[in-house]
């Protein structure tokens, strides 16, 4: 069903794709063929910088860490947006200002909500 249309400008992408697959697989296969295999218990144990592993690896963190992390990400993103806006402030003018205020207000609503819900208290 395919015709004679060839999206030629995609060719580099395809070749990179093929190349990366080739390199990845090639390294794995080469390692498999070359390396010696002599497993023993100590060797199979997870490597913990030479220390003996203590406790379960799947340790549960308190959910509070995630909340703080998420809030951080939110403000991080806000800063990322604010920076270019500040740089181009002269050219954006009032429209840009209003736009940015809307953005900040929306974030603020979320912040107030999180605050009131007690996301910032550690207890």
């Amino acid at each position: 069903m395919s015709g004679n249309y060839i999206p030629s400008h995609y060719l580099p992408v395809i070749s990179i794709l093929a190349f990366s697959v080739l390199v990845g697989l090639g390294a794995l296969i080469a390692g498999l063929l070359v390396r010696p295999r002599r497993p023993y218990e100590q060797k199979l144990a997870p490597y913990e910088s030479g220390n003996l592993p203590v406790g379960e690896p799947r340790y549960r963190f308190s959910v509070k860490f995630y909340i703080v992390a998420m809030l951080f990400v939110v403000f991080d993103v806000e800063a990322v947006f604010l920076y270019p806006w500040a740089v181009a402030y002269d050219r954006l003018g009032l429209f840009g200002f209003v736009e940015m205020m809307i953005f900040i207000v929306i974030l603020l609503v979320g912040y107030v909500y999180a605050w009131k819900k007690g996301a910032l208290t550690w207890e």
Partner: protein, 478 residues
Amino acid sequence: MFETINMKILLPELILICTGLAVILLDLVLRKKETVAFIGVAGALLSAYYNFSLMSLGWSGAVFQNMFVLDGYSSFFKLIFYISLIITIFISLNYIKTERVSSGEYYSLLLFSASGMMIMAGAADFMVLYLGIELMSLSLYILAGIMRERRTSNEAAIKYFFLGAFSSAFLLFGISLTYGLTGTTSIIEVAEALNRLGPAGRNITLIAVIFFVTAFGFKVALVPFHMWAPDVYEGAPTSVTAFMSTGPKAAAFAVMGRVLFYAFGALQLQWSAIIEPLSIVTIAVGSILALSQTNIKRMLAYSAIAHAGYASIGFLPGTQEAFAAMINYLMIYIIVNLGAFAVVVIMRREGIMGEELSDYSGLAKKNPLVAFLMLIFMFSLTGIPPLAGFIGKFYIFMGAVEAGYTKLVIAAVIFSAVSAFFYLRVVVYMYMKEAAEPSVLIVPHSVKLVLAFTSIMAILLGIFPSVLLDFARASLLG
């Protein structure tokens, strides 16, 4: 550098989003939690009012360099979303109290999700479309898992989220392929570019179309992209399931129609050939698997899958008329389905899950009116005349037969008969079995309102079908 944006066109969406934000904040200060819900309803009504007054003033048009439009097509779908949203809020009032869900998040997420759907319906650009889909979906992921203490709810949310992300990847892949081939993400410009491209180039574009169909197929739950639906529908809170099986499904059909008809109209024969097997397999799998369900939410999930299959038959002829039949079908389906879910919601009482079919035993004796309304909804979903469901199916089938899909329609009708078996089983339980325990059924006023509206519509749209169909036809024209 900047156009003066005609913000009026965005007003309906903006109102809804602002209401969502207001609801979140007000929930923190208000004592009476129902007030929050009514603010949500008021916001939805205001938004609807602006939308249709803008339409009636003839202020339809496009904003943001033709990225977002307000037209008859989007307005018809927005009406579906408003109905779905408002009814969901009404049936949630008591339900979320029973389930102890905090109301601020719940209602604002519903509003955000509905805003996302409206953005989807009005999207004239793939980027805006994607934005709408993600706004809708992210809200839904959280809504599905909003009963934090219940494992099934968590499971539903996680599954929905992962698979939804997976489908988004397909969508983005399709968008990027289209962009690569046509150099644009605008729906109109894609159509123009396809016309320039010639037949060979169009065939390559078909890969993009398949990616789009996969992504949208996931959202509307076409087989084989449906696997998430039963698990998520069963696990999510019932009111959220009611919402998910109506609004978002219609929204996905809206973007599917927009993309297939308006962007890839030149490939109509090809995409019809893709959807044809999908639709019949969807109907078959949905109907057959619904047979062996004992949980009513799961059964309605498979029923929703089957109905997505019936609706997608409306794409096949590729004509305006068949497409009108499809959006007509969607409107009827969501109204009837919401009615059925309203009954499922009130079956959940303090200490009783009410989700098993056996919970419906003897309902006709306990509460004859509710049982009778459920019977109407089940009959309508089966497609028994003169109820609305029959009309929906009739026009879909008629359009397909006229376009020459006779065999497909025969198969669809056979599965429609199979579907009678599981819909009527609910009726058998209600009318012919004795109740296990004599528990009372209290119907809150808000749900009474919903039941009255949906059942009256199920009957009226069956007797006066041309009202809705003419509206659908007119919506497609402008």
